[in-house]
């Protein structure tokens, strides 16, 4: 099924890994070489991943660029890769962010340089793996393996409070994923000893099974997203992580959660999903408003943006659980947008931090006088973040709200208030950073240098491109999303089953 003459997905996943191995050989002293190699590797990976964008057949929901080999026959585990409209863009986003991470940390990483780039490459490879895997075992392998380098990235190169942040990050995530592991194994036996996701999707499961498995998976995905009650690891992780770490977190890592919902929870447990829609929408809306309000209270730049991304992820989950094409496609598109925009914002914070070594909003008044170009860049991303028409943020937010509104008017209305709050905190932030009297600390800061411009330019282009002409991106999704919706809807109509009733019968 792979139309290309080389195994593109494996390349995307393992080229960075090979790069990491290569870096291990380079002597610790030669930092520039290390950086350049990392940059080259990530760039090549990105270039090699472009065929996904070009050669992708937008007319089918079938998995494409499939690679399928026996791996562990004892457990009927296959090395099974493939992408469809849901995952392909995320893969591209991953390969892109790898480059950006390398670029943005060029000067900001001073200690253990070699290890840092190794970790970055490994993380990106693993996350790409998560998006490509079609075998549950393989998926879980990448899903967890990604933790190891990420743990180090935050913990070694992070801020003062990094250790607390890492421990929190790792434990939070583990709790979720181990429960999912149990779910996966249970599913494995229930479906007759197969980890093959496509096969598993073909089967239907009784409601009780769906119900428990849904929550088992929910535990893993909700933490990653992160959804409302389990979001508190994110601000800490973001705040303490180095810029590249935050970019990875924001751009791709937390997408794994939302992706998980789309790829697994919905098609595997359609009836449970339908039954849970009210709960999920509630949580999403709470996340939107709650996190938005928290943003108003933040004094720390990164913390604010971290909470804002909790709020944005709220839109995404709402879209996903709206269970209609606008919602889901909006959700997927919003994943990309959020990846681009929030990633970019974190890079901007990094650019500030490199200059002033402070993350306090109060320390950076009137930045636009010394750094006008930077101000312009940030403005674009801010506007995208508040969903101004013409930027990508608008398309995603509008579609998700439309979807949410269609599913449940309350959800739509409340989510829309989130847009107001969003404008509130983002513009206030922008004002406090860039407007008003110049803070003496920042008077003589240099404006962005070429490297930084190069790092941010592609993101600007994406912001405007998706904002003005999103159709090419949306086209990727239609067949897959349609197919997904059919799968969800064909399952017998279980709307009337309410959770309490289920619990009762499960207990019995």
């Amino acid at each position: 099924m792979n139309k290309l003459d080389y195994p593109i997905l494996s390349t995307i996943i393992f080229l960075p890994v090979l790069g990491a191995l290569l870096l291990m050989l380079i002597s610790r002293a030669r930092e520039t070489l290390t950086k350049s190699v990392a940059l080259i590797v990530s760039t090549i990976t990105f270039i090699l991943s472009l065929p996904l964008f070009i050669n992708f057949d937008k007319s089918t929901h079938k998995m494409q660029f499939v690679e399928r080999h026996d791996w562990i026959p004892a457990w009927n585990i296959k090395y099974y890769l493939g992408v469809d409209g849901i995952s392909v863009l995320l893969v591209l986003l991953t390969t892109l962010s790898a480059i950006l991470c390398v670029l943005i940390s060029w000067h900001s990483i001073k200690i253990k340089v070699k290890e840092f780039y190794i970790a970055i490459l490994l993380t990106c490879g693993a996350i790409a793996g998560v998006f490509c895997s079609l075998d549950f075992f393989l998926f879980y392998l990448f899903w967890e393996a990604m933790l190891i380098p990420m743990y180090l990235i935050i913990g070694v190169w992070g801020g003062p409070n990094r250790i607390y942040a890492t421990i929190k990050f790792i434990l939070y995530t583990l709790v979720g994923s181990v429960l999912m592991l149990v779910g996966i194994i249970f599913l494995y036996f229930y479906a007759g000893r197969t980890f093959d996701i496509i096969e598993l999707m073909a089967k239907t499961y009784p409601y009780n099974v769906q119900f428990w498995l849904f929550w088992a998976f929910f535990a893993a995905f909700a933490v990653k997203v992160p959804m409302f009650p389990v979001h508190t690891w994110l601000p800490d992780a973001h705040t303490e992580a180095p810029t590249a770490g935050s970019v990875i977190l924001a751009a791709i890592l937390i997408k794994m959660g939302a992706y998980g919902f789309l790829r697994f929870s919905l098609p595997l447990f359609p009836e449970a999903t339908k039954a849970m829609v009210p709960a999920m929408l509630t949580l999403s809306v709470i996340a939107i408003i709650y996190a938005g309000l928290v943003c108003l209270a933040q004094k720390d730049l990164k913390r604010l943006i971290a909470y804002s991304s909790v709020s944005h992820m709220g839109f995404i989950t709402m879209g996903i659980f709206a269970l209609n094409s606008q919602g889901i496609e909006g959700g997927i598109l919003q994943m990309i947008n959020h990846g681009v925009v929030t990633g970019a914002l974190f890079m901007c914070v990094g650019i500030i931090y490199d200059r002033t070594h402070s993350r306090q909003i109060a320390d950076h008044q009137g930045l636009s006088t010394p750094m006008p170009v930077f101000a312009a860049f940030v403005m674009v991303f801010t506007l995208a973040a508040i969903g101004l028409p013409g930027t990508n943020g608008f398309i995603g937010e509008f579609l998700t709200i439309l979807g949410g509104f269609t599913a449940n008017k309350w959800a739509g209305v409340l989510a829309a208030t989130g847009v107001i709050i969003g404008a509130g905190y983002m513009l206030w932030l922008y004002q406090r950073l860039f407007f008003m009297k110049v803070h003496e600390k920042v008077v003589s800061l240099p404006d962005m240098d070429t490297r930084e411009v190069i790092a941010l330019l592609p993101l600007i282009i994406l912001v405007l491109w998706i904002g003005v002409y999103p159709v090419p991106f949306l086209d990727f999704m239609h067949p897959s999303v349609q197919h997904l919706l059919e799968r969800v809807n064909e399952a017998g109509n279980m709307q009337e089953i309410n959770i309490a009733k289920t619990l009762m019968e499960v207990i019995r």
């Binding site: 434990l171 939070y172 009650p229 979001h231 508190t232 690891w233 709650y290 309000l293 928290v294 943003c295 108003l296 209270a297 933040q298 209609n324 094409s325 606008q326 496609e329 909006g330 009137g366 636009s368 006088t369 006008p372 312009a376 506007l383 101004l388 028409p389 013409g390 398309i395 509008f398 579609l399 709200i401 439309l402 509104f405 269609t406 008017k409 309350w410 739509g412 209305v413 829309a416 208030t417 847009v419 107001i420 404008a423 509130g424 513009l427 206030w428 004002q431 860039f434 407007f435 008003m436 009297k437 110049v438 002409y469 999103p470 159709v471 949306l474 086209d475 239609h478 999303v481 349609q482």
Partner: protein, 639 residues
């Protein structure tokens, strides 16, 4: 693909060029790019207008913007009579203001930025008026809001300026919140967002109710009201009017272009554009009319007591917008648009004149002006024209439009018609009063500023005065295209718009019409006279009145304390909730409490548990024996 497409995109190119090259290459030549492009669009607009007059309506999609499931929207333009009029207003008045700005903004370090933003604004405004579906409308809608944010906060070093910009944007967002929901409701109802099919379909949905958040509401009413919420925000009607006066922090040309001539009128335009929807919902119409009329009087009263020259004009703007809505509310859309059209001229004129004054005295306080007549004659004369036109003095364009509104309200069948009429008539007194209060305090009697200021007084350069003159002539003559039949005119304007906005049914005799016209005119004139008495002859009166009715005076002077009210009921609470409750309590205490508490308690438990490991072999043995015993016991008991 035809020339009209260039109308919006010329300014856009201007923006791109200026923003990219402005800082390093173009610098103080930025105006060339912008002015040329906008004049270009003006020319094309005129051509288009002629086409339209020749009965050609353009509705064309450029490309599909968004597709998702049934949802499909394209970027496309609809150019009909209404649009054509708006195009003229925007590009025409816009060009003059651009030219004026060359002089006004001269030497500002953000020169290129200013013109870039202005061009961008014009682009969005044109998108707004040319849109052929609600989402593009929304695009322009938000876009102009964004530009006003930029331009109000143009001098961002001033905290007040950046605050004002933020305030404008966020206040509008409150309206847009409703507007967006309205758009979504439209899609859910009609399955499309394009005007033509929507307006064609809309009748079939009349009378249907929809359950919205637990209430059964008439579908059309709901949609109309949601849309109107957006208009209230953009056009600064009660209760969202608070941002407009603060918006005066921006450079004067900005106030002229955005906060008088074009953006703020977007609301009126939208209501007029959606008249097929509004017409079907009496509730909505009443709301529009009442809010319009009330706002009109409300703002007028406040305007009477302001000392900041620009704020006076700002409140006058709000007041005039109110009138337009009142007109729309009773179905006289044409009248509303007509007033919009005339208002564009005289309000832009007033602002620019005020700008020229400020240019001379370097502050906005009319109490510290006076006697400027002899220093800057052109400004004086033109501003006088503006005031006369605004005050609705017969012969001036303002007169015709205002009179048409007053008459329509009086003669309308709408239940609130008379109320609207009463309020608007009252406004007809205030408008000339505060306009001339301003004129008198500014130009007449002797200068009240410092000597130092005094001998810097000078007339503005021609690049500024020429636009003034042009606008002044507009303020005088622009209205003549709408002279009512009563005065032997052809009311061409109304007729021209009829295909789009229709015509309200009016019940009234010619006699009544004469009477109403006479009444309003007398009222207007009396306003001027009283102003003259207060501020030219018996100057001590206002002071004494202020003293005697101090409470009323203070209330009005402080704009009915609306801002204070809002900060009390919206801003402070939300910040408190954010800071103390959510951040401080829910997040930090409850969630984090659990998140950190569980591991901590496990840790404590671990510390306790390790105490069992006493290091004494005996204890270990005892535990082993105990374990053995318990297992045996359990097994024995379990059977």
């Amino acid at each position: 693909m035809e020339s009209y497409v260039l109308i919006p995109f010329l300014p856009l190119t201007a923006f791109v060029i200026n923003i990219l090259l402005g800082r390093d290459l173009i610098r103080d030549k930025a105006h060339w790019v912008s002015c040329l492009t906008i004049i270009g669009s003006f020319v094309i607009s005129v051509i288009t207008l002629i086409d339209v007059i020749n009965g050609r309506v353009i509705n064309e999609d450029l490309y599909t913007w968004i597709i998702s499931g049934k949802f499909r929207v394209s970027v496309g333009f609809l150019i009909d009579q209404l649009t054509a009029v708006m195009l003229i207003v925007v590009t025409g008045v816009g060009s003059l203001i651009f030219i004026y700005s060359i002089g006004y903004m001269h030497g500002d370090k953000g020169y290129y930025r200013f013109f870039a933003y202005m061009s961008l604004f014009v682009f969005f405004m044109l998108m707004l008026v040319m849109a052929n579906n609600f989402l593009i409308l929304y695009l322009g809608w938000e876009g102009v809001g964004l530009c006003s944010y930029f331009l109000i906060g143009f001098w961002f070093e001033k905290k007040s300026a950046s605050d004002a910009g933020k305030k404008a944007f966020i206040t509008c967002r409150f309206g847009d919140f409703g507007f967006a929901l309205g758009v979504i409701m439209i899609f859910l109802t009609f399955g499309t967002l394009h005007y033509i099919p929507v307006f064609a379909e809309v009748k079939n949905f009349a009378g249907q109710t929809v359950n919205f958040l637990g209430y059964d509401i008439d579908l059309i009413t709901l949609i109309a009201l949601l849309l109107f919420a957006g208009a209230v925000g953009k056009s600064a009607q009660i209760p969202l009017h608070v941002w407009l006066p603060d918006a005066m922090e921006g450079p004067t040309p900005v106030s002229a272009l955005i906060h008088a001539a074009t953006m703020v009128t977007a609301g009126v335009f939208m209501v007029a554009r959606c008249n097929p929807i509004f017409n079907l919902s009496e509730t909505a119409m009443i709301t529009v009319a009442v809010i319009g009329a009330v706002t009109s009087l409300f703002a007028a009263t406040i305007g009477t007591f302001q000392n900041d020259i620009k704020r006076i004009i700002a409140y006058s703007t709000i007041s005039h917008l109110g009138m337009m809505f009142a007109a729309c509310g009773i179905g006289a859309y044409a009248a509303g648009i007509f007033h919009l059209y005339t208002h564009a001229f005289f309000k832009a004129l007033l602002f620019l004149a005020a700008g020229s004054v400020i240019h001379a005295v370097h502050h906005n306080d009319i109490q510290r002006m006076g006697g400027l007549k002899k220093y800057m004659l052109i400004t004086y004369v033109t501003m006088l024209f503006g005031a006369l036109s605004a005050g609705g003095v017969p012969g001036f364009s303002g007169f015709f439009s205002k009179d048409e509104i007053i008459w329509s309200t009086f003669a309308s069948v709408s239940p609130v018609g008379k109320l609207a009429w009463f309020l608007v008539t009252a406004v007809a007194f205030f408008t000339p009063f505060y306009s001339f209060r301003m004129i008198f305090l500014t130009f007449h009697r002797k200068f009240r500023g410092t000597h130092h200021e005094e001998h810097h007084l000078h007339e503005s350069p021609p690049v500024m005065t020429i636009p003034l003159i042009l606008l002044a002539s507009g303020a005088l003559a622009a209205g003549w295209v709408g002279i009512p039949h009563l005065l032997g005119g052809g009311a061409q304007f109304t007729e021209f718009l009829k295909p789009v906005v229709g015509h309200p049914e009016l019940h009234g005799t010619h006699a009544q019409e004469w009477g109403i016209m006479g009444l309003s005119t007398t009222i207007a004139l009396s306003g001027i006279i009283i102003a003259a008495i207060f501020y030219l002859i018996k100057t001590y009166l206002p002071v004494r009145l202020a003293r005697n009715f101090s409470s009323i005076y203070r209330t009005l002077f402080n704009k009915y304390y609306v801002d204070e009210l809002y900060s009390l009921i919206i801003i402070r609470p939300s910040l408190w909730v954010a800071n103390s409750f959510i951040e401080g309590f829910t997040d930090a205490k409850i969630i984090e409490g659990i998140v950190n508490g569980v591991p901590r308690s496990i840790g404590r438990f671990s510390e306790k548990l390790r105490k069992i490991q006493t290091g004494l072999a005996h204890h270990y043995a005892i535990i082993m024996a105990a374990g053995a015993f318990f297992i045996v016991a359990l097994v024995l008991l379990s059977r």
